[in-house]
Amino acid sequence: MIVRKAVITMLLIGLCIVASGCWSRRELNQLSITVGLGIDKAGDEFMVTAQVVDPGQVATKASGSATRVPVTVYRQTAPSIQEALREMTTESPRRIYMSHLRMLVIGEELARSGISEALDFLSRGHETRTDFYVAIAKKSRAADILEVLTPLEKIPASKLFSSLEVSSKFWAPTHGVHLDELLNNIADEGRSPTLTGIVLSGSASKGDYVNNTEHVKAPAELRYVGLAVFRKDKLIGWLSEEESRAYNFIQGSINQATGNLECEDGGKIVIDIVRARTRIKGDLVNGKPQFRIRLEAESDIAESSCKKDIVDPAEIKQLNQQINDMLERMIHQIVRKAQRDYKYDFLGFGNVFRRAHPQEWKKLKDDWDEKFVTATVDVEADCRIRRIGTITNPLNQQMEE
């Protein structure tokens, strides 16, 4: 009896194994590992560019063969992104595999007409993760961005990823946005996303040759510039470097930032903000929204070519005051830009207000834009210089004897 049961169980298990035939098995060499995806507008359709890794060329220690490049790009135009990706298999020998996507680049034209449709595909698909960065191709097509080879990093999409990650931390005007953050920003009431822009500088036509990496200074380069401002899912404008910095200060996404202060006698002091925290309080005063931004920061002195004696605490105090003034000015500037030029709250104040006063928000949210234009914004910056570096007074001073 027990033997019979055991035999039947064995047969059933064996049948499972044989009949399912290693169901949904995918060998590594049947996948095209896509690291970069570019989406552009082509009339009413989407033009999708996929940057795919050639593993053999990436992993070899020797330079491999000089005529093969580490990535390949497939491009297709179709009414929807899913169709475009599937149609790529007519050109690609393997299935496009999206799980290891590092970078999504959206062309400016498509961004201006709305990215939500493109994003729906990416968030809905089970294969796509949400840990890749999204960026906008400024004044060019995403397809052109993805075709440029980069020095130092064999896979260009990896270079874009790392560069955005590092510059988010060290260079205030840029901010790396993952897909999930982007979706949250679009969906949240009273807030809109911003995305960093990529610019192809240099000669584009030379970018896709291996030659590009054979020079000490590559002729074609990809670099990040300021932020793009969105109205929900449509791009409405670009911020300058200063404005992008201010925006990031307001959002509190500064990790480190650099700025310089002018001295009376012509030199300048460069400070490095190492820690920053922003608190925004929103209130309704006399029917008008009022916001108080408090910015706390700590900084070091990175460079000094001033005649000031920076060891003197009184001088430091004065410098602090200067920094505070500069920060406040910066933030006022961008608030003015939002209120006057764009007439749209892309800074996310609506969201702050919503969290503080949800009942009032319900009444105001329908014409928030008008309300926002009339809002008063107080800025208070409190930045303290903590360290002055490993030498005291600058070389300039010591030169004069």
Binding site: C16, I17, S20, C22, W23, S24, R25, R26, E27, L28, N29, L31, I33, V35, V53, P55, G56, V58, A59, T60, Y97, S99, H100, R102, E127, R129, I155, S158
Partner: protein
């Protein structure tokens, strides 16, 4: 045998006795009959099998018989340890075959037959055990002679409570088997269970303790061993002290110990001789157990079904390696594992002379050349090598065998169902392990059922003064090892 009814064997005429013995043994060439003149004027004969007897003792007996004063009773003057008087032919022949010498002499006015213990012959001397070497610790190992083995254990436990029970198993081999236990520390129930299981064995020959192990284990088809075997007297003595029962089989240097639990297969003798910090290596052994079991399966599952779980640079590297390999990952794993098993078997069997050649061929096949020929990927070679090395880290060889077999099952599960298959396999394995018993003791004690204080010698060994009690699941009552007053504070 017809004679037995009317005349008992000892009373038969000398020549008749000798004829019957020779007939029973089929005129064996090594049966020696030595006729002597006894001291008191009569004749005597010594019957023995050459090679089984100790020559010196034999000579002393012969000497005594010939020259010693015999006042009628030859037996009184014979300086030997063990004597008996077989009453029938069968017993007499058994005695001769066991290494006794039959002294056929005048006794009580007629013929007599005395069997004297002269067991001897060539034996292996006590040497370092081949399979369990230590850096620090005794280097004595059991030999094939049962009396030497029991003596080795007795030397370590000079307590009167150490019991040695003899029995004979095997119709043809008539192998001597001894059960050892510490009366009062080992549970009576367990000893009785061991005894009764041994007595129920009905087999023609017992060549090695492994035969007995297969007969008496709890589950005949068990995947995992439920008894440990050891060549070291110190290991056996330590096990006896914890309330277990040892089974020594004549002819085998491997002594069985039962009942055992799973964690014992990861305990090595050295853990107890070095400082307790060394026992952290046990964690490494357990880790290697899992590597040896699961590493190829995990590799196959991740690269075939779950590529999203691998970090991107590693994935690209693996993909690069797999370019141009004709086999799917599962087949690659299978081939490499089978090749390694072939190499391992060949390594065990080959004569020493060609050892060098085999190892070179092995390195070539398994390593660089397979990769260069484009048959397997380098990552696969690494996985298989690590798996193989990890398999050797598990101290108990029997456990390593089980792991080797199960590894293939897991590879098949991984190739069919991916990580889901592996997890199902692990669950099934855990269920199976928890359902095993070893002579009534749950196999996964002290983890399941969990018992805190008894876990002090499982994953690592706590310092000796903290191991205050013996595991309760072995020795029910008497379980104080270290008296509280003697315990040291750190």
């Amino acid at each position: 045998m017809a004679n037995e009814v009317d005349v008992p064997f000892p009373k038969l005429a000398r020549a008749e006795q000798i004829r019957l013995i020779k007939q029973q043994l089929g005129e064996s060439g090594d049966l020696i009959v030595q006729e002597l003149n006894s001291g008191n004027g009569g004749t005597a004969a010594l019957v023995y099998i050459e090679g089984l007897v100790d020559a010196r003792t034999l000579n002393e007996i012969a000497d005594h018989v010939q020259n010693g004063p015999l006042f009628g009773e030859a037996s009184s003057a014979v300086p030997a340890s063990h004597m008996s008087r077989p009453q029938d032919l069968g017993t007499a022949v058994d005695a001769v075959l066991a290494g006794f010498t039959l002294l056929l002499c005048d006794e009580g006015g007629g013929n007599g037959c005395i069997a004297i213990d002269t067991k001897g012959g060539d034996k292996r001397s006590i040497a370092e055990p081949a399979t369990e070497t230590v850096v620090r610790g005794p280097r004595e190992g059991f030999t094939e002679a049962i009396r030497t083995n029991t003596a080795l254990v007795r030397r370590r436990l000079k307590d009167s409570r150490l019991r040695v029970e003899n029995m004979q198993i095997g119709r043809v081999s008539k192998t001597d088997v001894a059960i050892l236990y510490l009366q009062g520390i080992a549970e009576d129930r367990v000893v009785q269970e061991v005894r009764s299981r041994l007595q129920s064995i009905d087999i023609d020959a017992v060549q090695e303790s492994g035969y007995i192990e297969e007969w008496i284990q709890d589950r005949p088809l068990s995947l995992f061993p439920t008894m440990i075997n050891s060549e070291r007297p110190d290991v056996v003595a330590a096990n006896l002290l914890e309330g277990r029962v040892a089974i020594i089989v004549d002819g085998s240097p491997f002594v069985l110990v039962a009942p055992v639990v799973f964690i014992q297969f990861f305990q090595a003798a050295e853990d107890y001789y070095h400082r307790f910090h060394y026992s952290v290596i046990r964690l490494l052994r357990i880790f290697c157990f899992f590597i040896a079991l699961l590493a190829p399966a995990l590799y196959v599952a991740l690269t075939t079904f779950h590529q999203e779980a691998i970090p991107t640079p590693l994935l690209i590297s693996l993909a690069a390696q797999r370019e141009g390999i004709p086999f799917p990952a599962f087949l690659e794993a299978f081939i490499m594992e089978i090749t390694f098993e072939i190499l391992r078997e060949a390594g065990v069997r080959m004569p020493r002379a060609i050892g060098q050649a085999v190892s070179i061929v092995g390195a070539l096949v398994l390593g660089q050349e397979s990769v260069e020929a484009g048959l397997v990927s380098p990552a696969m070679v690494i996985v298989v090598s690590i798996t193989a090395i990890a398999g050797f880290v598990v101290p108990a060889y029997d456990m390593a065998i089980s792991v080797r077999m199960l590894r293939f099952v897991f590879i098949v599960l991984a190739a069919t169902f991916g990580l889901f298959g592996i997890s199902t396999g692990i669950i099934a394995l855990v269920l199976y392990l928890c359902s095993l018993h070893s002579f009534g003791v749950p196999f996964m004690a002290p983890f399941a059922p969990m018992s805190g204080i008894e876990m002090r010698d499982t994953l690592v060994r706590f310092p000796n003064w903290m191991l205050r009690i013996r595991p309760r699941f072995f020795s029910g009552r008497n379980n104080v090892r270290v008296r509280r007053s003697a315990a040291r504070k750190p």
